[in-house]
Amino acid sequence: MAFRVLLADDLYFMRMVQKEVLEAKGFQIVGEASTGTEAVAMYEQLRPDIVVLDITMPEMNGLEAMKRIFALEPDAKIIICSAIGQQSLIVDAINSGIKDFIVKPFKPERLLSAINKALQG
């Protein structure tokens, strides 16, 4: 059965890129959130195998959403999508328990490899 993925990014374009990459490799995108609030709600409802969470999002940012998802499910598998200047935020997120992070702009194989490794672990 295909792994179920939740994508969270405020930019439709980014989500589309990720969706294309992942669907091409047989993943099932079960939901797309454009704010942190949406991401948490969708996580609770859909219980995906893995979440790809952008740090910079309106309403509630990715890190806050990450914390709330971990509160719902301490073993949640989360990959953070970040930019080059966000090193300390990434370290915070690692301390909170994310499986991996990808740095924008990223190549498709980075996303795939990070997700595959995270799902194995």
């Binding site: 374009f13 589309m16 294309e20 991996d100 702009p105 498709p108 490794k117």
Partner: protein, 680 residues
Amino acid sequence: MAFTGLDERKLLRAFLEEAEELLEKLNDNLLRLEKDASNPDSINEVFRLTHSLKSESALLGFARLSELAHRLEDVFDSIRAENLTLSRPLMDAIFSASDLIHEIISRISRGQTDSEIDTRTVIGELEQLGGFGFRSEPEQSIEAATAAAAGLDRGEPTLKSFQRFQVSEALERGEKICRLTVRVSDEAQLKYPRAYLVFNSLELITNVIHTFPNMTVPQDDRLYEQLTVLLSSDLPEERITAVCAVDLIEEPKLEVLDRTQVAELLSRRDEGQKASVSTSRSSRIESSSVRVDTNKLNEIWQLVGELTIYKAQLSQLHDRLSRRRGNESIKGEVERATDSLERITAEMQQAIMGTRMVPIAVLFNKFPRLVRDLSRKLGKNVELDIQGKDTEIDRTIVEGLSDPLTHIIRNSLDHGLEEPEERRKANKPEVGRISISAHQQGGKIVIEVADDGRGLDVGKIRKKAGIDSEISDEEVAQHIFSPGFSTKEDVTDLSGRGVGMDVVATRIREDLKGEVDVRSESGGGTLIRILLPLTLTILHSLVISCAGYYYAVPVQDIKETVKISEQDVIVEEKNVYYDYEGQKIAILGLQSVLLGRADEGAQLGPDNDGVVVEQRRGRACLLVDELVEEEDLVIKPISDLLNHRRLFSGATVLGDGRIIFILDTARIIEIGESGGFDGI
């Protein structure tokens, strides 16, 4: 384009649609900023918009557009951080940049690329007005950093005493000592966080003793192309190497050290600080920071320290000069010059101090995960509360504090907090609570770790240490920090803490010149409080004189300076006491203490200057000849030869070679309490 095999036209269409929306918002916000340059919402929004534009255009291979957006993002990042103000010329440059972005986007929508557009003029303008240096290709300098890193002794660390203790403890527990090495792929853009993924997983399942490079405080990102971790564990090797199953982590190699290797490791002694990696050849690392060899910083610090001493001398000369008649105009000028010098020296000191300070968040941030995972392993529910992450503290202190603090938190979780069942029976909420906090209090940093667990069993400590009933419970509890107090068997027995708390205390007191104490209530939890100096190098001191020599007393240890006359004094046998706030404290003549005759009792004149010093263990009043003045002194360690009675904690050397010794107040209080040297 970066994406082959995907439907590029579809992507491009989506990009253009989104870009149009972004540009509209960008324009609105820039107009808003033109009216109100400090509007934080607009600044943040522009930062976010340019950031998005940068990422998206880079993804589609529009390098020039991406670079332009990136530079705008940098500008707004600096404005956000209040390193840059939005001036009129800068605003103009930003508008030109925004216009250029419009132009590029409309070209792209007409099916052209961004490659013929000249973005250099606008970028140059932004860089100049934004105060950013010219960006060269970072790749050029990687070699230099790597070469420097390779020169370091990466495989064979020299362990500090606490780490050696960890190794021997681990061997006693029957664990293996291993060295794990991984490479972080050249493709990884942020190497430190990537190495941190491995480090963090290791910390959760093994006992990490040492890492190279340092993982607690981030260094230059390029140093993290290889990570070497020394650890102890009883897990099978494949469980340990499993943490390396992370994207862009390559060539994991786990080596179990044999007995000879461990012995060799333990026998290595710290041969002084190794020169830190100098990256003078690779001068550009980030837009707003540059790496400086810490030795160079220390040198500057040392010089500023001497400057403060000469500043003080000059002030004294000026005082003398002003007491004489004549030369009024010159006196005025000298006074102004002295005042300016004083102000500038103080500011300089502050500024240099700032270069050594890092927020304690770099340390605290690793605890949520540690607590989360450890609590799960132990089957306990724990809520962690962290306060005061922004508190700034000397970089070297943070490094030294990492292990002891981790140890304290592990203890709280492991031994302090009860099992859920036990908590239910005691009518406590099932979820235990650990709070970690930091704040600055005067010249000190206070760090507290509190839990609402079962507390210390003072009765058992009393029995074990053979302490009679006159001593208060609070004092008895401090025995967990006494050298050699806890051994392995005692740990579980003593309902609580005690594992290596003596080592934790030694580390805090001796290496970090701090203080640690514990307060505990049976059934009501435990609070461990650590007091640390802001820095280990500059000490705010009161200079005093005694028998023609100068000495210094750390101001942080001074309760008050007092005038003492004979009627304030209580004489009992040969000891003299001072009635201070209703408490009887020993009066010690500094000269007798220095001569080793503290038991002779202080000789009092009609009107004496006294300094009341205070430490956790008590107070004492020190009689001196004269209070000279307060100074910031740069401390240097002194050899045991000069200090065989351990009266001094360090010394400072003046430009002309004279030495001021810094009195160790804890030791002086100890002498006062024991009634002279004989009692010790």
